[in-house]
């Protein structure tokens, strides 16, 4: 027995020493950040996957401008710029003494190369539209670039802050998919596919150096595994935790901080405006009145999410609250449906992609629409099928998707888009917006645009996806909101 006691004492002592040792250590300078989806590759100029930007944006790659945590355009590789009176010529003054991670120096030629590559005929840039207004890019001297636009484009500086517009070096551009070479405060170190991506501090960085020495992105696709990884301390932070149902558990644990932020993800009941009954405005209005947003947010997102009445992010200054234009009102919904010629309702389908907001939200939407007589058949689809059937072939009635691109109300002007919404009035508004540079005037046009799609009930506007951040309470500097798809780690540090 005394031997047993001795062993137990020994173990307790060893553990105690180990714990003490770790608490007297200096402030940590490494971070393990959890992510759900692994990026297919690491070149933000050649892929649509948000996961790419979530790793490399601002950390490894930088653009002429950058979007800060509040969604404001800040100088990036261009330290300043001037805009001509006709709003068509942008002169960017580039930073001096900047070099790429492989030692190559950064100058005007790299900017010319990057922008021309993105808008070239054989470009594989997923957001090629951002570069459409560009007429020419010329290097005036090694540190000055002049970009001429074919028409004034109010959002041009914001667009140049997207991950798809980062500046790359000609020599390394083709290999960025597996070995990204940028100018940012972190250098790519290694990628164990399926497990983690490691970045280390770039000591030759031109600006404020990163406070972290290493940042490791761990890929954890399973929500239950994510919970145990956080609880075990393997992961220090999840910028966007995959399971809202587990947030309460973290809230009650003093080791963690739960931060609910906003995203650019408008989660909508996308409607095929050319399919059967949905062609009729009254049917779409009936649906708008039949959706109980609060019940959807509570049921599908465990209460996290902001109701929206149009396709616009509520945290943006130009947002207009239009929820009241179509309040939850079943009697009115039934009446509208009867006026549209469907007093007994009708049958339709709803195709749901894999994310939980869609699958869980879809079931709730189906039960809500059943109350006014619209009988929805639920068809779960994979992303590949969704892209093929819904997005490409428009073979659908209803679907649920979160549109996560920032400031993307312009998609309603594309008449061949999967909503099949063709409104010359809206298209004219977007043209006017493009040509307007004055912020106040732009906000007014954006307001009109929001009102128009809300009045037309193009889609069922449900809620803005929340960002569920969970991190160790000693971490500072992580973004609370995500105005762009990014995990900017440049200012992240540990206190004690």
């Amino acid at each position: 027995m005394s031997k047993m006691k001795f062993i137990v004492t020994l173990i307790v002592l060893t553990l105690g020493i180990a714990i003490n040792a770790s608490s007297v250590m200096a402030a940590k300078d490494s971070l393990n950040l959890g992510m759900v989806l692994e990026p297919p590759h690491l070149d933000p100029t050649a892929g649509a996957a948000a996961a790419i930007d979530e790793v490399v944006y601002a950390n490894i790659f930088e653009g002429l401008t950058r979007i800060d945590k509040n969604g404001v355009v800040k100088p990036g590789l261009a330290s300043s710029w001037t805009v001509s009176e006709d709003q068509k010529t942008y002169t960017f003054n580039l930073r001096k003494g900047v070099s790429f991670h492989d030692g190559a120096s950064f100058d005007a030629d790299d900017v010319v190369f990057s922008l021309n590559r993105a808008r070239a005929k054989d470009s594989v840039n997923a957001q090629k539209a951002l570069f459409k207004p560009i007429q020419s890019v010329t290097a005036e001297d090694p540190h000055t670039v002049v970009v001429t636009l074919s028409q004034p484009t109010g959002s041009f500086l914001f667009n140049m802050g997207w991950g798809d517009a980062v500046i790359v070096d000609k020599a390394s551009a083709e290999k960025n998919k597996s070995n990204p070479i940028g100018t940012g405060p972190f250098k790519f170190s290694k990628w164990v596919r399926g497990d983690r991506i490691v970045m280390v501090r770039n000591d030759a960085y031109w600006g404020t150096p990163a406070k972290l020495k290493t940042a490791t992105i761990k890929i954890i696709p399973d929500p239950a595994a994510a919970v145990s990884a956080m609880m075990a301390g393997d992961i220090d932070a999840f910028a966007n935790f995959p399971a809202p149902e587990s947030l309460a558990q973290f809230k009650s644990d003093p080791r963690f901080k739960v931060v609910i932020g906003t995203t650019e993800g408008e989660t909508i009941l996308s409607t095929n405006n050319q399919s059967g009954p949905f062609k009729k405005l009254k049917v779409r209005q009936a649906i708008a009145h039949a959706l109980d947003r609060k019940a959807i947010i509570d049921g599908a997102m465990f209460g996290y999410g902001t109701p929206i009445g149009t396709h616009f992010a509520p945290h943006h200054p130009a947002y207009i609250d239009l929820i009241a234009t179509h309040p939850y009102n079943l009697a009115k919904a039934k009446q509208l449906l009867a006026e549209a010629g469907y007093p007994d309702g009708f049958k339709a389908t709803i195709k749901l992609p894999p994310p939980s907001y869609a699958r869980r939200g879809g079931e709730i939407v189906a039960s809500q629409l059943r109350k006014i007589g619209i009988d929805l058949e639920i068809i779960p689809v994979e992303w590949a099928q969704w892209l093929d059937q819904v997005f490409k072939k428009r073979d659908y009635d209803l679907t649920i998707v979160s549109h996560t691109e920032p400031m993307d109300i312009g998609i309603y002007a594309r008449k061949d888009y999967y909503f099949a919404y063709d409104s010359p009035k809206f298209q004219a508004l977007m043209k006017k917006l493009d040509a307007t540079v004055d912020t106040k005037a732009r906000y007014k046009i954006l307001g009109d645009a929001q009102r128009l799609i809300s009045a037309d009930c193009v889609n069922g506007f449900m809620f803005q996806l929340a960002k569920h951040g969970v991190w160790n309470k000693n971490i500072r500097g992580l973004w609370e909101n995500s105005p762009v798809q990014a995990n900017d780690l440049t200012q992240v540090y540990w206190i004690n």
Partner: protein, 317 residues
């Protein structure tokens, strides 16, 4: 022995060929276009067509099939659509996780199961037998993913002795690797051990009823002696069969355990490749796994011959 080998090798090749055909046809039927998955929602028709041409998706079906089989034979597995790295590299890196894990789990399960099976059989209908069988019943009844979650809850979340998951990577050294394999190995091995112990026990009990054991006993050998000397070897055939099946399962079927412990293994690769329509990875991986199962079965057959000399002549028992 030679006829036995020739026969088995012939079936091996034939099965592999049939497997390639099945895999190819199934993937042909699968809906979804890899090119549009890769290029996302803003791609134009021209770009999609160019990509399909580049990937060779526009060629006739039989050309693609023969090319694929020819490439397989020469060991050229192509480039992954999504990751843009050679498929062989991808599979190899995942195998460095899945194969050692399967091997460890198999070893652990054998080390637990065979002694327990022998213990139960030699104490037939006694308390020890009952104890072992209860353990085995529980082991079979508990789903391994749930057991895995209990393990992480205890060792990672509460005691904080082991990581909750992830793979340290071989360049981190053997220590961290074993640490990351420990819990998954236990989670995989125990349910397998429960089955294996049961099989060992009943195989032994059956052999112990046979005439030659009675003869040996009549000649004066002890119960234990008969068991170790005569019964065990004869009881091994069903045990080895089950072990072969379990190893194939461990190699390919660990997807749930890989998810619970977020290990970058074969199971997760195949799941991910299917959902992203990385068809080139899917078909090569499936065929490799099918090949592995067939080869393992072949090796089990060879083991039969080692265990039972009568099989070497080529006749069936």
């Amino acid at each position: 022995m030679r006829i036995f080998l020739a026969k088995r090798v012939f079936t091996l090749i034939l099965t592999l060929l049939v497997a390639t055909l099945v895999v190819f046809v199934v993937l042909e039927i699968l809906p979804g276009d890899p090119a549009s998955v890769m290029l996302g929602i803003n791609a134009e028709t021209e770009t999609l067509n160019a990509l399909r041409e580049e990937l060779g998706l526009n060629r006739p079906v039989w050309v693609r099939y023969t090319h694929w089989v020819a490439d397989l034979i020469t060991g050229n597995l192509g480039i992954s659509y999504t990751y843009d790295v050679p498929v062989s590299e991808l599979i190899l890196s995942r195998l460095t996780v899945s194969f050692p894990l399967a091997l460890l789990a198999m070893t652990l399960s054998t080390l637990i199961a065979i002694p327990l099976g022998i213990l139960a059989a030699s104490n037939h209908n006694k308390p020890m037998d009952f104890l072992v069988m209860s353990f085995s019943q529980i082991g079979i009844a508990i789903p391994n993913f749930w057991f895995a979650m209990l393990l992480t809850l205890l060792f990672s979340v509460t005691l904080r002795l082991l990581p909750a998951g992830g793979f340290a990577g071989w360049d981190a050294g053997i220590g961290p690797v074993l640490k990351s394999f420990l819990l998954p190995t236990i989670a995989l091995a125990l349910p397998q051990a429960a089955i294996l112990a049961r099989v060992t026990r009943s195989a032994l009990l059956e052999v112990l009823q046979e005439d030659f054991i009675r003869t040996a006993r009549a000649k004066g050998i002890t119960n234990q002696g008969a068991l170790w000397k005569h019964a065990l070897r004869n009881a091994l055939i069903p045990v080895v069969t089950i072990m072969g099946l379990q190893f194939s399962f461990l190699l390919a079927g660990t997807i749930i355990i890989e998810n619970v412990f977020y290990l970058p293994g074969i199971g997760r690769l195949i799941f991910q490749a299917i959902s992203q329509r990385d068809l080139i990875v899917v078909k090569n991986l499936v065929i490799l796994l099918a090949g592995a199962v067939i080869v393992i079965n072949f090796m089990v057959d060879l083991l039969y011959a080692v265990i039972d000399p009568r099989l070497r002549g080529g006749q069936d028992v």
